[in-house]
């Protein structure tokens, strides 16, 4: 597709679990939900929290991780790296990468992040993004690669996010992608 290689990228997604004292079953049930933390390649000074069940996304400074450590109420359960190479195709930025647990080469999936640079409006950019993905799917299908790319657009409004695209939108998408990877893995097994 004549993309220009621009360098490497990496984001890290962390699953947190609550620390429950005294075998409190009621509290364990109440807090049984995915609580995710995310550091993103293009926001080195920010950290994001996502709770999909509550349609909640938070943007914070990196120091929020230190605060969470000091509170000792949640611990890291597992962390996964999303990393690979970034390409430029005209007005599009493509980041292709593998998903694997940190300190492991065990591949959990492949992720493709597509960014259309000229437009920040979700509504206005929808058609051109759809057209690009169509071209991409066609190009990929010709290579007979195993698996397929799946795209699900979240209902950003449920997360309180506007039509103007932001890093918080990206954080929500990472959470959705993670849920899809888990669902796919469960189906395969």
């Amino acid at each position: 597709m004549n993309g220009v290689k621009e360098g490497r990228w990496k984001s890290t997604l962390t699953f947190y679990r609550p620390v429950i004292r005294a075998q409190d079953q009621a509290l364990t049930s109440e807090l049984r939900r995915d609580f995710l933390g995310l550091s993103m390649h293009d926001q080195p000074n920010k950290y994001y929290f996502i709770i999909r069940a509550q349609r909640l996304v938070i943007e914070a400074d990196l120091s929020i991780q230190t605060i969470m450590e000091k509170l000792q109420s949640y611990k890291m359960r597992v962390a996964l790296n999303f990393e690979g190479i970034q390409y430029r195709l005209g007005d599009f930025l493509l980041r292709v990468g593998k998903v694997a647990p940190i300190n492991s080469e065990s591949l959990r999936g492949i992720v493709l992040e597509v960014e259309y640079l000229p437009i920040s409006s979700l509504e206005k950019g929808r058609q051109i993004m759809a057209e690009f993905l169509e071209i991409w799917q066609e190009a990929v299908s010709k290579r007979s690669l195993p698996g397929h790319f799946k795209h699900t657009e979240p209902n950003f409004a449920e997360y309180g996010l506007s039509d103007h695209y932001s890093s918080q939108h990206t954080a929500v998408q990472y959470a959705i992608v993670m849920a899809q990877l888990i669902a796919s893995a469960q189906l395969r097994s």
């Binding site: 004292r21 807090l31 938070i58 400074d61 605060i67 109420s73 949640y74």
Partner: protein, 231 residues
């Protein structure tokens, strides 16, 4: 009034002073004139909604507390999460005239209260601080805040807040520091606080302080002079 030192994150310490009983309201304007003269900077208005959250029973290795601060002075309110750690203890801590505590802050987006509720935290109490602050450099980056502490009669109702101690305001002096430089910061803050002595007296938390006998005279002098008097 007392002195406290806080450790910010893993490196800097914040020096913090608290007024144990508060400065009387009639002396606040004089204090502002004095601070204006000493700091050489414009004061900033302060209106902060502070929510103190505590972990649910059995959540966490230990019970924990976190504060959410909403700056209501901004056009669009901004939120900060603050964690204050335990006080430094030992012979070294007792030698200095300040209380050393770790403090970590993070700017955060506006739905942070929903986040902590979802994580199992409960609202313990909330306050509204209204007043002013001076930020300046004088041997250390010092911040002096003078504020009334108000409680809300209805949940989150910042428009219906009443003073916790009517007629008395809280004065705090803080400065960031690190393990390597906190003695210099302590000296800088202590030195600065000496200039406030005609109106205020600082002491460590837990050590009772006293009404400054010169407060009324100093106030009268400052009000008459508009800050030109050397105390």
């Amino acid at each position: 009034m007392h002195l406290g030192l806080r450790r910010l994150g893993s490196t800097p310490l914040t020096l913090k002073s608290f007024l144990t009983y508060g400065i009387f309201l009639q002396h606040v304007e004089a204090l502002e004139i004095l601070l204006q003269g000493l700091c050489g900077v414009q004061r900033e208005r302060l209106r902060t909604h502070e929510l103190c959250l505590k972990s649910a029973p059995n959540l966490g290795a230990v019970a924990s507390e976190v504060r959410l601060l909403c700056d209501l002075e901004q056009t669009e309110p901004t939120w900060t999460v603050r964690h204050v750690g335990g006080a430094m203890r030992g012979a070294g801590a007792e030698q200095i005239s300040v209380l050393v505590r770790t403090m970590v802050e993070s700017k955060v987006s506006k739905n942070v209260l929903r986040l902590f509720y979802a994580l199992g935290y409960k609202l313990d109490h909330e306050l509204l601080r209204v007043g002013f602050a001076f930020h300046f450099q004088r041997g250390a980056q010092i911040t002096v805040t003078v504020s009334s502490v108000n409680k809300m009669l209805k949940l989150h109702s910042t428009d219906e807040a009443v003073p916790v101690t009517p007629g008395i305001q809280l004065v705090e002096v803080t400065a960031p520091a690190s393990p390597e430089n906190y003695t210099e910061v302590v000296a800088a803050v202590s030195s600065f606080c000496e200039y406030l002595a005609p109106l205020l007296h600082l002491s460590k938390p837990g050590i009772s302080t006293r009404v400054v006998p010169t407060a009324a005279a100093a106030t009268a002098s400052l009000m008459l002079d508009g800050g030109g008097t050397t105390l």
